[in-house]
Symmetry: C2
């Protein structure tokens, strides 16, 4: 019996079972897929049929595959069809688009998070939030108990429309729908505008969660290389011709992760190309209020015709108070509201009431003024601390919290991130931002989270170790 | 052949295609517009049908137009592919699954809403919510500014686990993920468990938003007739064999819209069938705390193996404070958290902190005690008011706010709902709950929203008018 030749059927059974497990993990065998018949698989594996039967039975017992009477074996349906991340730890786990989010959200208070995408809690206007909550607790209407209207709190939408007008974006309050977050806004737009299999263009690098989100929508993600002035217009045009994406998602001002700003010249070229190819653009502008000087907005040039504008207060005011918004063509609002009700029902009013009161009483403006100054100082400090380690900013951003840096030659950011996590530091390695995986020697730093010298001690040591072993 | 006359069919195909491209560019044919039928366009262009077919096919290949099976060709592009509701007003608009939600959420304060799915604001524990908010405003940690941990506030999950244990559902706190709402929980589970085109079973009738939600997921919706003891087990089994649904979504206790309760006998049969066919069940239990006596729970019998348990506080505590949860197998939690981060990023802490403090200080328990009594009284009052109108409850529910009623013969609920809306009353006509559209003579009443005699005056008149014209 051939099984005997390679060490007993027990061993071979394990091998066959492992082989199948690996194919499932690698999605060569997708959830719900039919496994090869006993007979044909026995041939492929040069094993006896009884070995295959035993391996299959073992996997059935484990719940990995299922037997359906009279029809064969199938990869278990219960296996989530949509795993955004591999479940098992892998050596390259660091490049998973959710790695930074999960590590940052999971991090205990004692951990340093230079890779995290938001401000430290202590930088937030706590006193103002307390005041807004106390005022809300005194309110004598239905704010505390009832659903918001489908579009969300009207006075807040009116105020947002005025604020957008200051940035040159003409919009009526009924073209604005409030959401729980900027992410939820992008998610609803994807539900509304794309179908599974549609191509969607993002910047390379871009905010890693766009990758995760688009994967959840089963979109085909196409990255366009990002330059210091916005996406490369040449390549942008080529991708439009070749892949016909329905959608392009970007940050125009204070681009995440690079901190770069779209130039007017590039903006005009993009909009022209978008029109030629009937492309819709989502301009995710959640860092708008971090700018010292307003950069060009696609939505301003376009007048919300094919550009959809998104914002939120999670990064500037409080991550705990959920309030984002989307501004778009009036005729799309109804469909978005329907989708929103279908998928999360009504929205609460607490978040929008708190934001409204802080916008109205000046708390928000004062907070952002001092925040910009504080960030500019931290930006300088962080650049100075990174310099002796041989870590060089790609550009010096005009504002915001992000600094996109090149590591010394031969140093792999993902490896640093993994070793960093073992020492209690969450870094953001370049490839989590890169669809083409072309940013392995880059890292994003959040300057607001870099006030701890320990970060640079550890980073210096890890970088030096890697550089040394690379050159040896 | 006429094609020959104007220069060969190849040329004519190009001309026809060009003509359509120009019409699209000039917006004479708007995105989403239906193209002329092959036959009529052939006539217009003085070409053969095969020429038109070839031109259309070419444009489909280019992505300029789209073919929809059985329905013709449409201009591709900016037109949202996923409209949950018809955009144009239609005479049968009342049977749209979002009609009741939109009408209720849009309703002005002066309107009566016997069809609405939640309690009046004045029934909610406002004083308790104020107290909880004031306490929160005094907190000296990161509750007001930071994201919650990925699973959500731990003390609340611990408390929820204890509460579920009282209902016989054994669950560890790390098997629970907090969400913004019950709807968001179901939505995340659909993202996790089903793919476009998968069959999903719901009760007929069921909560109308399940239809809207599943439509957003492009699922094939199969309704199983609902009896006074739960879904019909015979038909349940038949649907499993025939359609192989991956998922069944139901309310076990105080079923929406009927107020019926699952019997233990039916529960066991369902679970046995579910196991045979590897069906996953979502038990949406958001009305759990409205029960006077706990009914059987699928999750309790099953031990969260193939049953997923969902709850929320939107109906019992406040619609403004968003806090729901999902309890499931531990190995699914990670994937759900990933999807949650990808699609709405972190969650806020305000909602869960408020709920936790009201659960802990006894406010919630006292509120629910008096709420149940108040609802029981309103239930009796509503039944008494409906009786003289010839409107008969299908069953007298053991609790909750919903009363599912049969209208007199010949009276169409959708028509009543439309006429009612014109008079400022939001009714919930039966067919919004029915996948098979088999409930045109039924209506759901929310007894908590029925304290206004005007509702019954208008309803009596509308019903009498219709009954009269039906019998004449």
């Amino acid at each position: 019996m051939d099984d005997g030749l390679i060490g007993g059927s027990g061993t071979l059974v394990s091998r066959v079972a492992n082989d199948i497990r690996q194919r499932i993990a690698a999605r060569t065998l997708a959830p719900g897929a039919r496994l090869p018949s006993i007979r044909s698989f026995a041939k492929t594996m040069a094993a006896s049929k009884s070995t295959i039967v035993e391996a299959y039975d073992r996997l059935v017992a484990e719940g990995v595959i299922q037997s359906r009477r009279g029809s064969g074996f199938y990869v278990a349906g219960r296996m989530p069809p949509l795993a955004l991340a591999e479940i098992e730890p892998r050596p390259d786990r660091a490049i998973d688009p959710l790695w930074v989010s999960r590590s940052s959200l999971d991090a205990s208070d004692g951990m340093a998070k230079p890779g995290c995408g938001w401000l430290p809690s202590s930088w937030m206007p706590e006193a103002g939030i307390r005041r807004a909550l106390r005022a809300l607790a005194r309110r004598q209407d239905n704010s505390l108990t009832d659903y918001a209207s489908p579009l969300g709190l009207k006075p807040l939408r009116q105020l947002l429309a005025r604020r957008m007008a200051e940035h040159g974006v003409e919009v009526m309050p009924d073209q604005i729908m409030l959401t729980e977050s900027g992410t939820q806004a992008v998610d609803l737009l994807c539900r509304f505008l794309i179908e599974p299999g549609d191509a969607v263009m993002v910047d390379d690098p871009c905010y890693f969660n766009f990758h995760a989100l688009l994967k959840a929508h089963r979109a085909k993600i196409i990255g366009v290389p990002y330059t210091r002035n916005g996406p490369d217009p040449e390549l942008f045009g080529k991708i439009l011709s070749q892949h016909r994406p329905r959608l392009y998602i970007t940050n125009s001002a204070l681009h995440n992760p690079t901190g770069a700003v779209l130039s007017s010249v590039v903006a005009h070229r993009l909009l022209k190309l978008a029109e030629q190819h009937d492309l819709t653009i989502i301009e995710d502008d959640i860092f708008a209020d971090f700018e010292h000087q307003p950069a060009p907005r696609l939505a301003a040039f376009d007048g919300l015709d094919r550009v959809i504008h998104i914002g939120s207060f999670s990064k500037s005011l409080s991550a705990s108070i959920r309030c984002g918004f989307v501004a778009t063509r009036r005729e799309w609002i109804d469909g978005l509201v329907d989708l929103r009700i279908a998928t999360s029902f009504g929205s609460g009013r607490i978040g929008s009431e708190v934001v409204l009161s802080m916008l109205k009483d000046g708390t928000y403006r004062k907070h952002m003024d001092s925040l910009r100054t504080r960030l500019a100082r931290s930006m300088g400090d962080t650049i100075a601390r990174l310099k002796p380690l041989g870590i060089v900013p790609w550009i010096q951003p005009r504002g915001g919290m992000f600094l996109w840096c090149k590591l010394p030659d031969g140093v792999d950011a993902a490896r640093i991130a993994q070793l960093g996590l073992e020492e209690g530091i969450v870094f953001a390695p370049g490839n989590v931002f890169s669809q083409a995986q072309a940013a392995h020697s880059y890292m994003r730093f959040n300057v607001a989270q870099c006030n701890n010298p320990h970060i640079f001690e550890v980073l210096g040591r890890l970088v030096a170790d890697q550089a040394a072993s690379a050159s040896s």
